[in-house]
């Protein structure tokens, strides 16, 4: 069950998206995030779906992998749809009973909201997590936030912490799985009972997990010391980030997508301008 979590799970492939400079991807990620937040109209959302599919093809990501990264948020999306349908009361009433009123406006805006949210998750996972290794990503952030070093902000340390955290996610998931199996053997039950008793039950997993994480942290620190780690000063890189003309080109083309989305959204206003 725990193995389904896809956060930070890199999908290995050789595509132009995989090879794009991670700094470009980080900026693209932000551009798309802003653009998607601004979208309202069905036409723009439709375009977003098309763009998502294009990005998916560019990233050579199979539909199954896409589905896996969308799966965990499906329940949240359903919840949002239901809440929206029940609370938004615009347009024509199509169903009304007791205090519940459902309108066509409510349904359509709920659906738009759902698609938008789903696409947001998919686009961001295609641009970022699925096509970029966590280490590349933290390198990109280290570079992008580099100027903050001037005001003594620990940019390198933050990036290092992030990459180590990401490196240990699969290890800790495996460990959680093992601990749960061991406690189940001792009669623990994580599937039945009231929510409170279930939460209490998780103490049997969390305590050992914390204890072992501290031990791991301690040993890892020693190992890093022994491997001459001494902060970011004077470090070299095996694969230093290099921005090529190809990266810039692809970045410009892909960022056009985000601008296009915003343009389509505001098509009325733009036409009025001329």
């Amino acid at each position: 069950m725990l193995k389904d979590i896809s956060i930070g799970r890199y999908y290995r492939a050789d595509s132009i998206l995989h090879n794009l400079d991670p700094r470009c991807k980080a900026i693209l990620f932000i551009l798309y995030l802003i653009a998607i937040f601004l979208l309202r109209s069905p036409v723009a959302i439709g375009l977003l779906v098309v763009l998502t599919v294009i990005l998916q093809i560019l990233g050579k990501i199979p539909p199954k992998v896409m589905w896996n990264s969308a799966k965990p948020i499906i329940p949240i999306i359903i919840l949002i749809v239901v809440l929206n349908v029940l609370t938004l009361k615009t347009g024509n009433v199509i169903f009304s009973w007791w205090k519940i009123t459902i309108t066509d406006g409510g349904i359509s805006s709920a659906l738009i909201m759902a698609v938008r949210l789903l696409m947001m998750i998919l686009v961001t996972s295609i641009i970022l997590t699925l096509t970029t290794t966590p280490l590349k990503l933290s390198e990109a952030l280290e570079k992008l936030f580099g100027p903050l070093k001037v005001i003594k902000f620990p940019v390198h340390e933050m990036a290092m912490m992030m990459s180590i955290a990401l490196r240990f996610i699969p290890t800790l998931i495996d460990e959680t799985d093992k601990i749960m199996k061991a406690q189940v053997s001792r009669g623990a039950d994580y599937d039945t009972g009231t929510i409170i008793s279930r939460l209490k039950g998780y103490v049997t997993v969390l305590v050992p997990l914390f204890v072992s994480s501290f031990r791991r942290a301690d040993e890892l620190a020693t190992a890093m010391d022994a491997r001459c780690y001494n902060g970011g000063e004077g470090r070299t890189k095996l694969h230093p980030l290099k921005l090529t003309g190809k990266d810039v080109m692809l970045f410009i083309i892909l960022s056009m997508g985000a601008f296009l989305l915003v343009a389509v959204e505001n098509i009325d206003r733009i036409t009025k301008l001329f």
Binding site: T133, S185, D225
Partner: protein, 581 residues
């Protein structure tokens, strides 16, 4: 010969303790020398490694590496740059997300520029044989591969001195052997000096020089054959000796026949000694072993795969576990042992037609029925590998009580169950009120074991119960297991070691690639050489040694057969000495 590292009368105490972890120890590692520092858990040997890599400073005495005093603040960096370490836990020393990123971590830290950096990474990965996996996620490697990766990370730093701090403790025998061959290649080809800190005797026997450490002091030093074959000293230090010297020692214990250290030095000298005293000996049959007939658990036609596409973890397994026996499951990592045992208490439920049945009197419970699983879990206790990592309660008492409480035990019954279980694993009463996290690793493991024993299972399934323990810890663990068996608990023991299975099991079941290769009583299993070859099973060292002895002594067929029925060194000694057990 120049010394790579030298420790002189070193004393050291950790800041949170007033006891000296190192209490006046001296050692020297020559250039290009391969040295082992042996000691039981808590003897101070890992602390010594930290002193040599300038991770700690001695309170008294001097440590010099490459002729540089470790207290010299200006130059300690020169030591660390040229010293590589591999630690015990494969997971906790990997920094990189992918294989090549991890290898690059060290050289990146000391500022090696490209293209030299990528050359170093490439060469290091090729050296350890991981080059084709350079883009793999490190978390997905096996334990053996992870330790090879750690070596590659060290090699990329081009060190002159390699420190192995129990680097093989968590590996199975095959991966351990591969790892050691790699280290030996480094010593031979690259002239790197190596200090390996270990409690594994086979590892120590492959070095040039060994030091034995006990309570922070060096008690013995010398060539491996001189030191390791000194049986009483080794046992005192919580360690072990090779089979041949142990046999002479056991014979001395049983019959009083004295031998010199010279006799015990090599297999050859031991055989010469035996030949001089036991030629044409008549060996009586050992006492008959008990038989176990009543079936307790039956596994029927069990197949299992973790995902649809991957290979099957189990293929058509049929296995009966008899009441009262100790059944050993032997096989390499990844052969399906753990998958099979997690079926036995319904943590994994059978797929397809497979079945796991539990016979309790006239009733038959199966894990296919969800309702019956809880009852089965009560009767089948499962102790996973490194069970000390599952402790969570504030006191040892409460942790042991967790399982039985969940099973519905209360009041005096619960109290008695907890105390009995603690006693069975050898925990003192005073430990019960301590926090489990204050205890040593070995004691924590006992607590975890007690937590399952307290549930009073009919069957106890133990996955590598002695993994990572020093020889003394292993002996104590098996004593505990023998005690449980004596009290009527049926035991399924998962192990990597054929010798361990051979010594303790009533029946051995060998597995490979998800299949059972053979199930038989230990003696019969190794009689048919051709069948063994076909099953790709190697006979235990003890048995192979006894076969050589039988030839050397010119035993008659009956005596030979009787001798080969010995399942432990002690038993063999009693048979040879003609002493009744």
């Amino acid at each position: 010969m120049e010394n790579t590292a030298l420790a002189k009368n070193v004393r050291f105490a950790y800041s949170d303790s007033d006891k000296f972890a190192i209490d006046g120890a001296s050692l020297a590692i020559g250039e290009g020398e391969y040295v082992a520092l042996l000691g039981a858990n808590g003897s101070g040997k890992s602390t010594m490694a930290k002193l040599l890599d300038v991770l700690e400073m001695p309170n008294e005495g001097d440590v010099t590496v490459f002729g540089i005093d470790t207290k010299d603040d200006d130059r300690f960096w020169d030591i660390r740059k040229n010293t590589g370490c591999v630690f015990q836990n494969p997971d906790n020393q990997i920094v990189g997300t992918t294989v090549e990123e991890d290898v690059a971590f060290g050289p990146e830290n000391i500022g090696i520029p490209n293209p030299e950096l990528s050359e170093r990474v490439e060469n290091a990965l090729k050296y350890v044989g991981l080059f084709d996996k350079k883009e793999r996620q490190t978390a997905k490697l096996s334990g053996g591969q992870k330790q090879k990766l750690a070596i590659a990370g060290v090699l990329a730093m081009q060190p002159k001195f390699l420190l192995l701090d129990e680097a093989t403790a968590m590996l199975d025998p095959v991966s351990r052997d591969e790892f050691l061959s790699l280290v030996e290649k480094l010593v031979r080809e690259n002239k790197i000096s190596v200090l390996t800190i270990t409690h594994d005797m086979t590892e120590a026997s492959r070095t040039d020089k060994v030091y034995i450490m006990e309570k922070g002091k060096i008690t013995l030093e010398g060539a491996p054959q001189d030191v390791l074959n000194n049986v009483p000293e080794m046992l005192d230090a919580g360690l072990d000796s090779p089979i041949y010297s142990k046999l002479l020692w056991e014979i001395k214990n049983a019959t009083g026949l004295d031998y010199s250290l010279e006799d015990a030095k090599t297999i050859r000298s031991a055989l010469r000694f035996l030949g001089a005293h036991f030629t044409d000996a008549k060996i009586k049959a050992p006492s008959a072993k008990p038989k176990f007939d009543e079936t307790l658990i039956s596994v029927k036609n069990l197949s299992y795969s973790y995902d649809d596409k991957g290979p099957k973890a189990l293929k058509n397994i049929d296995l009966d576990i008899k009441k009262g026996e100790l059944l050993a499951l032997v096989g390499r990592s990844g052969c399906g042992k753990t998958t099979l045992i997690t079926h036995m208490n319904g943590i994994i439920r059978p797929q397809g037609e497979g079945k796991v049945e539990f016979h309790y009197g006239d009733t038959v419970l199966t894990t296919s029925k969800k309702k019956e699983i809880k009852q089965i879990r009560q009767k089948v206790g499962l102790v996973f590998q490194y069970p000390e990592y599952q402790l969570f309660e504030e006191t040892v008492y409460r942790d042991i009580a967790y399982g039985p409480k969940k099973m519905g035990m209360k009041g005096d019954e619960l109290d008695k169950a907890v105390r009995d279980a603690a006693k069975q694993v050898g925990l003192d009463d005073e430990v019960l009120e301590k926090s489990p996290f204050e205890l040593s690793g070995g004691q924590q493991r006992r607590v975890a074991l007690a937590g399952v024993i307290a549930m009073k299972p009919e069957v106890l399934v133990l996955d590598e119960p002695a993994a990572g323990l020093d020889p003394r810890g292993r002996r104590e663990m098996f004593k505990t297991i023998a005690g449980l068996k004596k009290n009527g608990t049926t035991i399924v023991l998962v192990t990597h070691y054929m010798d361990e299975a051979y010594e303790h099991a009533d029946r051995i079941c060998t597995m490979k690639d998800g299949m059972i290769m053979g199930v038989s009583d230990p003696i019969k299993m190794f009689e048919d050489k051709d069948a063994l070859r076909e099953m790709e099973i190697r006979a235990p060292y003890l048995r192979r040694f006894l076969e050589i002895i039988a030839v050397r002594l010119g035993l008659d067929p009956v005596s030979k057969k009787n001798l080969l029925r010995a399942q432990s060194v002690k038993e063999a000694a009693l048979l040879l000495g003609g002493v009744d057990a």
